[in-house]
């Protein structure tokens, strides 16, 4: 029997095909929930109204999750801050949920502990002193309940130190207003009724949602050194000096 090149190739081809004939996908598992959240449909994005806080202000958005995993923050048209839009901080908020540095545990000397450890440690320190060994580190708190609790704590522990820090805040703007007007004021779009306090927030000025940005007078953004200044009616480069109250003077002129 003569097997020439052509026939040999044909035989090879059919042998390869025959080998692959029994190739079927590997076995797969389906792992449902043990306890499925109410209203969830597997694989379908779920939206719910939520708030995230920035500088202590609660800001309303819609969160989108797929099978319990947050994937996107979107504007909530029915919330006065958002009016359907988001800002850069809200857009980035979803990443913070995947931040590996985010600790959800009680730590003791850098090691994971639990709330029982905290309670016993707390009794040891707070039970016998006036709180000189205790420091409270928080962001800005606006919740009346939390404020009342921390006031009560301070009353009980007079030497307690309380550190408040917000990486993004409107402290400078508030101090500037105090300097210029002798009291705290809130920026209002000219010729409009006072808007909610949402518009006085630092996020507003750092490319906030269109809801406020479009209504706020563009000159308010003048003098700022970050991105939103590019939309101003005029631009002035300023050094970040604490007593610089250019914006306020501009407004008064």
């Amino acid at each position: 029997m003569k097997v020439d090149r052509r026939v040999a190739l044909k035989l090879m081809a059919s042998a390869v095909a025959a080998t692959m004939a029994r190739c079927s996908p590997p076995d797969e598992e389906i792992i449902p929930y043990a306890d499925m959240p109410e209203g969830l449909v597997a694989g379908v994005p779920m939206r719910f109204a939520t708030t995230s806080s920035l500088s202590g202000y609660g800001r309303g958005f819609l969160g989108i999750t797929v099978d319990g995993r947050p994937i996107k923050i979107e504007g909530n048209p029915r919330h006065p801050f958002s009016l359907g839009a988001t800002d850069v901080f809200a857009e980035a908020e979803v990443l913070s949920l995947y931040d590996p540095g985010r600790s959800s545990n009680v730590l003791r000397d850098g090691q994971i502990a639990n709330w029982d450890d905290f309670a016993s440690g707390w009794e040891g320190v707070a039970g016998s002193t006036a709180g000189s060994a205790i420091a409270l580190a928080t962001g800005r708190i606006v919740s009346p309940t939390t404020l009342a609790r921390s006031d009560a704590l301070q009353a009980r522990l007079p030497e307690l130190r309380w550190y408040r820090y917000e990486p993004v805040n409107d402290d400078a703007a508030r101090a500037g207003a105090q300097l210029a007007f002798g009291r705290l004021v809130t920026a209002m779009p000219a010729g409009r009724k006072p808007m909610s306090r949402w518009c006085s927030m630092p996020t507003r000025w750092a490319t906030g949602p269109t809801s406020c940005m479009s209504r706020a007078p563009s000159r308010l953004a003048a003098g700022r050194t970050i991105g939103s200044g590019s939309m101003s009616s005029s631009r002035h480069g300023l050094r970040p000096e604490p007593r610089q109250i250019f914006v306020c003077r501009w407004r008064l002129n």
Binding site: S14, I30, V41
Partner: protein, 199 residues
Amino acid sequence: MASVALMGAGLTYLIWKSPYATNQRLTRGQPVPFSHAHHAGDLGLHCRMCHTGVEKAAFAGLPSTHICMACHSQIWTNAAMLAPVRQSLKTGTPLHWQRVNRLPDYVFFDHSVHIANGVGCSTCHGPVQDMALMRQQEPLTMGWCLQCHRHPERYVRPRNRVFDMAWQAPADQATQGARLVKEYHIDAAHLTDCSTCHP
């Protein structure tokens, strides 16, 4: 010699199509020997009781442990075969089921759109109400899908019969089906577009 190659190719094709290759009628081991014959057949539970996503999502969904235990916290509470379910409830660890009906990852299949367009459960899954242990009834090959995508009028049924496991095509399915295809606005011309299933 050429005929040998031809026979080889023919044999290969037959193996390819055979239940041996498509995994049809293969009964897989499951953590709990759940019987559709008992639950769907004897008791007459509705498909949607456990497959809650079937009308709303691509994936029909498998019941959470809590759905199983909605009944089994009351009945058969000490049955040995349900021990894995109770264990799952206790520990919060889900059951790991073996998938029976599997499509390749490059196929997009959506249960909800088929349900909405009058394709019944039994058309693809067969007489589930008679299966003590679940098995794949149909080959789930592309050629098999195309039988319906080319001629949906042969398979579609009234929407209120979609979950009816006893439904049989009526004698006048040709006219009934054609009427339903029109009623459901099924555009048969585009059902065989590649991108319909391979987006």
